[in-house]
Symmetry: C2
């Protein structure tokens, strides 16, 4: 398996190559693989808050945590992603040392189906679980399109009640609000796989279990799924002869007749209220779908989710193949601007659907199930305005004035920490000015200074860095600040904690409106 590696010159070296020997002069390049990124303090804090808020909500809904590993056998995950152009259809996969194929999970749903089929899950049915964690997609990376992202999932396994689906939609609606999306800032688009099936039936596209027929219907489904991104002209090409994108790549079409394409187009264009009988109800599949959607409407009303937040949108099909019933996705309705300030299409921030046949793949036995997923990473990037920095407050900084006094400084730091005040000793080798710059970069509220003289007198100097920064901003105050140093005070060493606490309290009051 590692043999090919020697051909990959200029790429990352093979892990068994002699070039990896640390004693040689080989220097790897320091960079992340394409489509992966580091996350800094503000974003990690936001992720944690978001997952905490969604977890608390999920527990109020009666979901319990249940986590699966990052790696699964490739065949257990199956191939359900729409990304046909990518190796392994969008999944990261490799062979284990016993030659079995392993894949990184591409969602939290397929591993849950494996776990349920395995009989390992808690015995109560329906099983209500939630999960948070990264998933990996081997997609073509691009601006805002990453190959690792965080998802938060809720699932109900073992219920065919439409109330279960409705509850997940309610969870998404409440969840988006819980993480800071205003109630009028999003809408849930709801559809049903059988509604799309009805649209295809009405257009005369053959149905059946034959592999070629299934493949054809899946191609039509995925063409419709692209309406949002490509517009109706793009979908027309995908349903017909095929489509060439800007880069020149050609996606083969479904080869439908013009009359069939026109029929589908008319159905997609239909404005559908929850109670619509009409055109979409003229096929058996369409009727089943509309009956299910009506049950969902009633349940949502009972759950207090108003009709203005959920609309039936027949073109929503969700590209993932395993869905069998209702499918839904939440989109933000306020304008999202990209890093360049230009408005950008953002797509859905949360989605889900029913997947009644996924456990059956393993066991042959049908286990109805439905799930929903919040795109945590996606949502954070949508909610974070360009240039918005995390203004988290840093620790109190004890300056290293004299290396021989390290133990004294560490004792101060330990006292402050013991009192619950974040604090650190400057551990670099720079002088006082650079240390104060460090404090500024860290967002430290207070600097603690003790040289030999102060130590002899049993004192410390405390610098209010917030006040200092404010004063430095105005010229007059700047002079006053330079001369009189009003932003610093002397305190007895024994009152260090109390004095720092007093400055922090003063700063908090000053910041209040």
């Amino acid at each position: 398996m590692f043999k090919e590696s020697r051909e990959a010159r200029g790429k990352a070296r093979a892990p068994d190559g002699a070039g990896m020997n640390e004693s040689e002069a080989f220097r790897p390049e320091a960079r992340q693989p394409r489509g992966f990124r580091d996350r800094f303090a503000g974003e990690v804090a936001r992720e944690r808050e978001m997952i905490a808020a969604l977890s608390a909500l999920a527990e109020r809904y009666g979901f319990a945590p249940l986590a699966t590993p990052a790696l699964e056998y490739a065949d257990a995950l199956g191939k359900f992603l729409p990304d046909e152009d990518r190796p392994n259809e969008g999944v990261f996969a490799f062979q284990d040392d016993d030659e079995a194929w392993l894949s990184l999970r591409y969602d939290h749903t397929a591993p849950l189906a494996r776990l349920v089929a395995q009989g390992e899950a808690p015995p109560a049915r329906p099983l209500r679980r939630y999960a948070a964690g990264p998933v990996w997609r081997n997609e073509k990376p691009g601006p805002g399109r990453f190959r690792e992202f965080l998802q938060f999932d809720v699932d109900t396994v073992g219920s065919e009640a439409m109330a279960a689906d409705a509850e997940l939609i309610a969870f998404l609606a409440e969840g988006l609000e819980a993480v800071g999306v205003p109630q009028d800032g999003f809408v849930v688009n709801l559809s049903h796989r059988k509604l799309v099936a009805g649209i295809m039936d009405a257009a005369g596209i053959p149905a059946g279990e034959d592999a070629a027929i299934r493949a054809q219907r899946l191609r039509v489904l995925r063409s419709i799924d692209k309406l949002d991104r490509l517009g109706i002209e793009g979908v027309r090409l995908l349903l017909g002869p095929g489509r060439r994108d800007e880069s020149g790549d050609v996606t083969p079409g479904a080869g439908l007749k013009d009359s069939q394409i026109a029929s589908i187009e008319a159905s997609l264009g239909a404005t559908v209220a929850f109670d619509a009988g009409g055109e979409l109800g003229r096929t058996p599949a369409g009727r089943e779908a509309l009956a299910d959607l009506e049950e969902i409407r009633l349940a949502l009303a009972a759950l207090g989710i108003g009709a203005e937040r959920v609309r039936v949108t027949p073109s929503v099909v969700r590209g993932i193949e395993y869905y069998t019933g209702p499918v839904f996705e939440a989109e933000l309705t306020h304008e999202i601007r990209g890093p360049d300030g230009a408005p950008m299409r953002f797509g859905s921030v949360a989605s889900g659907g029913r997947y009644d046949d996924l456990v059956m793949r393993f066991t042959g036995e049908r286990v109805p199930a439905t799930g929903a997923s919040v795109g945590v990473s996606r949502l954070i990037s949508a909610l974070t305005k360009a240039g918005e920095a995390a203004g988290a407050e840093g620790p109190v900084l004890v300056l290293a004035m004299d290396r021989a006094m390290t133990a004294d400084y560490l004792a101060m730091v330990a006292e402050l920490r013991g009192a619950g005040i974040p604090a650190e000793l400057y551990l670099g080798r720079a002088g006082m000015k650079a240390q104060l710059k460090y404090a500024d970069r860290r967002g430290s509220p207070v600097a603690v200074i003790q040289g030999g003289d102060e130590r002899a007198k049993g004192e410390v100097t405390l610098k209010d860095l917030k006040l200092g920064a404010e004063m430095a901003r105005s010229i007059e105050d700047n002079r006053a600040w330079r001369e009189g140093r009003p932003a610093q005070e002397t305190a007895a060493r024994g009152t260090l904690v109390a004095s720092v606490r007093a400055i922090l309290a003063r700063q908090r009051e000053g910041r209040a409106p």
Copy 2:
């Protein structure tokens, strides 16, 4: 890359095989790959608590969160693990579609070095960061030995002060206490790579930059590292002719002379106090190590970490190759029993060390750094007594008595949730008895029952499931309970939330001592 897959019959199917077509009768087996496991509600909750406690402590120490992706270029991670017998030396690796080799991170340290070398990190130096998340090791799985586990890391990059190392040891000590290890329940074993270098120098093992010499010293280092697991006899064999384990596998030895082995053995056996000059200080490397350890001792005392919690143990070398200075590991001192109730060796639950040359691999420029890691998964399994179940309370269960009343039930559920009370509607199809069994399995405190009659009267029946369970345990009460149903009460529908809240309050009081 996927061509070999067809040979892997009987293993997990190749992800591109025709057998994956969902329309065929192929049924994958539902199981996790070896060495991977699912985690249920109790453990996930424990992970979350532990990471929250360690994060809060890290922030008090002035560390800020910084997360790196799960996948890195293989050459950026390098090969530092001791697992020479495994493919790719213990790392999960595979080729990206552009043929570059990617690896799953095996720790949080190597990716941090990449990030710093890349110049992406926040500009303040020293950089103090923490990270929590899974790491993956392609090791031979075994009982209690998994290939995916959670680690919590703290690192200080850009400081050569021994105070930085001391702080990390203090963090481990405080951190273990913060997650529930008693203060006398662990000890930190501390050593220094230069102490081991001194031991090797004293034994006359050649030193130098030549690859063969480095490899030989690394082999001796890793042999010493196994003292804990194999005992002195095992180490003697590894230092000399080699060792055959129970399974018959042979590990080649370092080929040292008997006199060299005896010299090393004597040094390892030496009881070393922090201030020991003596034998270990007779080489230049040994003297440097002892001076560093003395600085650490002083810093730890200033930080309030008593000498009884940290001891110098020359045999602690840590198998990871990138360490250059102080190394340390925390071990639990109370007896750990395995799932079979028998005492088991548990090894370290937290560890760390200085890695001054890791950033230099990329840039050629030396950036001193030190880090420590808490094995969250390991610690949870050590602290969880065999058979200890998570007694988390489940949601209030609204019984589904009449499907036509679904909307009414959902409205009750929404009201309870709105009041912050976890609640759910039973969404399966079973009868009342099975629904109560479900409530029992979920640990529900209260069942809410409303049939047609109750609805007509505007009432609900509330069943106190905790009281019911207690009464059912005693025979007399059991009869009373069956006849008089004292564990249930009738409430006006309008007072649902208040009435449920009253029962929950009563249950909490009853549980108090």
